[in-house]
């Protein structure tokens, strides 16, 4: 029982990281912390794949004349290399958006921003400020 629990130790780590990440994405109101959560969430998936690829006593999969030893599956590592690149791109885009949001709104807290948006929306639609149009000829 204990050995099988410890045997899947990696999966417990993956599971915990996944939930921490997902909680940060959903539960935090700060835009920067959400990105931190997203990165943790994605990293947990990388770990999951790497764990699939590892076999006990496995060697690196290098082609010899005689392949007699057990070797690890290289494909998950390659897939994760791709996923890491995608993750970096996502983080970079997210951070640059947060930077722009900070300059435009002066805050990166969701509550502040939605309060400001609500005022704008109200101005536009309810009071009809923008009904007074500028027309281009």
């Amino acid at each position: 029982m204990i050995s099988s629990t410890i045997g899947i130790w990696n999966y417990w780590i993956v599971f915990c990281l996944m939930m921490i990440g997902l909680f940060l994405v959903i539960g935090r109101k700060n835009f920067l912390k959400k990105i931190v959560g997203l990165t943790i969430f994605q990293t947990s998936v990388f770990l999951l794949y790497i764990t699939f690829g590892k076999i006990k006593g496995g060697t690196p999969p290098i082609l010899n004349e005689t392949i007699d030893s057990i070797y690890s599956n290289p494909l998950p590592h390659v897939l994760i290399l791709t996923a890491i690149v995608v993750g970096v791109a996502t983080t970079a885009l997210g951070l640059s958006l947060v930077l722009r949001i900070n300059t435009e709104y002066g805050s990166i807290e969701e509550d502040d921003i939605s309060a400001q948006d609500l005022v704008d929306y109200h101005d536009d639609i309810e009071t009809g400020k923008s009904v007074d149009l500028k027309f281009k000829q």
Binding site: K34, L48, L79, L133, Q137
Partner: protein, 496 residues
């Protein structure tokens, strides 16, 4: 030369926009970067038409990328199912690019326009790759290419309205979580089957019917794709992203982005997991069917109470996606065909409506709301005429494309003994008339504006093309109906 071209058509459809996007970014001139983008999208459309002709002969094209034979190498599969979204995406993106010429410099500063066109092409390449690829992990990469490019495109709306930034941010976070969930699903399936090729997956999971990892993997994949397809409770990102994006981008995204994901959803449900019948039937009945019915009503009611026109159309998109997933959920051949018919028709309807609204909004500096549309109908007769035709098509009046899809959807529900669903569809369509009429009433019945607006041919030409298709496919729908029935037969024909 022609021989090489015709042999490599499946990859050319993806590569053509992908490679030109690298060159477009180098051209500083607005006009030339637009010309190159138009050429590229036109070529892509041409390639997809050629593919359509090939499909009529071979019915299944498998393309081994880099001559690495599947299932080890990445395989691109084009069959009678995949060709429908390919035609939709390449066709609409061509029309949207024509439309973008005049509207893009109005909303985006001149120095960043070539970069926007580059992102534009990247998004199109991502969507087309999503549809053509037969490899589950390659699909994830294309999912991210298309969604990162669309996020950046949505964020370009910040020059007009700063809320675009928040909309883009939410789209990014929700989209990235969805894509990561999909990767978890693929990982679990890879763990138990040892393959990533979709056709190979189908064969290998046939004897794993009650495997828990299989069920978990399936769940993760479906949820991930449903986020991207904006199926009801996971649609939160959609209204804002469409409303605050630059107008041309709204047209492109509204007409194409969710269609590719809906196609992937259909393929996972009916093709990859075709051997685990019990799992699929339960998913369709207890997850997708209720969600689609809620989506139909929630989207329509949200649209009725919305005053911002672009948001209104986005909420209506949520309802229309509900119709498509409802058609999939019923799961008979006729209903899946109806789903594909509506997928095509919704693309041309929503494309047309967004083009019409943004041409009206072209003369309005700020946000297009219901109040500042008043009386514009008389000032812009051509745009307004097309807008009304597209609206009628959305409501499903006879002689328009929307009627055909509603007709086949209701026929399919009745033939599978689900009369109450047919009644719900009718009620929801009737409700959609409320918000459409609200816009038409404001534009036509209110007092006339003392203004003369010269309608610009470069804007309304694309509107006329797309409206023409709305009417044409209402009069003679044989092309799309036959195509959809063949697609549905390919998807579930050997199952039922």
């Amino acid at each position: 030369m022609i021989d090489i071209l015709s042999k490599n058509l499946p990859i050319l459809v993806v590569l053509c926009p992908l490679i030109t996007s690298l060159f477009v970014v180098l051209i500083p001139n607005i006009f030339f970067s637009w010309i190159l983008t138009t050429l590229s999208t036109f070529l892509t459309f041409l390639f997809s038409i050629l593919l359509y002709q090939d499909i009529q002969i071979h019915s299944h094209i498998s393309y081994a990328l880099g001559k690495w034979m599947p299932p080890i190498g990445i395989e691109y599969i084009i069959d009678k199912v995949a060709i429908i979204p390919i035609i939709i995406i390449s066709g609409i993106s061509f029309i949207a690019t024509i439309f973008a010429y005049k509207i893009m410099p109005e909303e985006i500063e001149k120095k960043s326009i070539s970069k926007v066109y580059s992102l534009w092409l990247l998004a199109i390449a991502g969507l087309l790759g999503l549809v053509t690829t037969g490899d589950a992990f390659n699909l994830f990469v294309f999912l991210e290419i298309s969604s990162l490019a669309s996020v950046a495109l949505v964020a370009m709306g910040a020059q007009k309205d700063k809320q675009a930034l928040v909309a883009a941010y939410n789209y990014l976070i929700i989209g990235a979580v969805g894509a990561t969930l999909y990767v978890i699903g693929v990982g679990l399936l890879y763990g138990i089957t040892g393959t990533l090729n979709m056709e190979d997956l189908t064969n290998r999971i046939s004897d794993l019917n009650n495997n828990k990892a299989l069920i978990a993997g399936f769940g993760f994949m479906i949820i991930g794709i449903m986020v991207k397809a904006a199926v009801f409770p996971l649609h939160i990102w959609l209204p804002r992203a469409y409303a605050y994006a630059p107008s041309a981008v709204s047209v492109l995204l509204a007409a194409t982005a969710t269609k590719a994901s809906l196609y992937i959803l259909a393929r996972i449900l009916f093709s990859v997991f075709e051997n685990s019948e019990k799992l699929i039937n339960n998913t369709l009945l207890y997850v997708i069917l209720p969600l689609s019915i809620i989506a139909m009503f929630a989207g329509t009611i949200m649209a009725i109470y919305e005053k911002d026109i672009k948001r209104l159309l986005a909420h209506s998109s949520v309802a229309q996606i509900g119709y498509i997933t409802l058609a999939f959920a019923i799961g008979t051949k006729a209903s899946i065909a109806a789903g594909f018919i509506h997928m095509f028709n919704h693309a041309i309807i929503k494309g047309g409506l967004f083009i019409a609204i943004t041409s009206l909004g072209f003369f309005i500096q700020k946000r297009v709301t219901i109040n500042n549309l008043s009386g514009l109908g008389r000032a812009m007769p051509i745009t307004f005429f097309c807008f009304v035709l597209c609206s009628l098509s959305l409501a499903g009046l006879p002689l328009t494309a929307g009627f055909i899809s509603k007709l086949y959807l209701i026929k399919a529900t009745i033939s599978s003994d689900a009369i109450w669903i047919a009644i719900l569809i009718l009620i929801s369509s009737a409700l959609s008339v409320v918000y459409l009429w609200k816009m038409i009433e404001v534009m036509w019945m209110r007092e006339e504006r003392k203004i003369v607006i010269k309608e610009n041919p470069s804007i309304y030409i694309s509107l006329i093309i797309i409206t023409f298709f709305n009417v044409y496919f209402g009069l003679d729908a044989s092309l799309i109906v036959n195509g959809s029935f063949e697609a549905a037969e390919k998807l579930i024909g050997d199952l039922k």
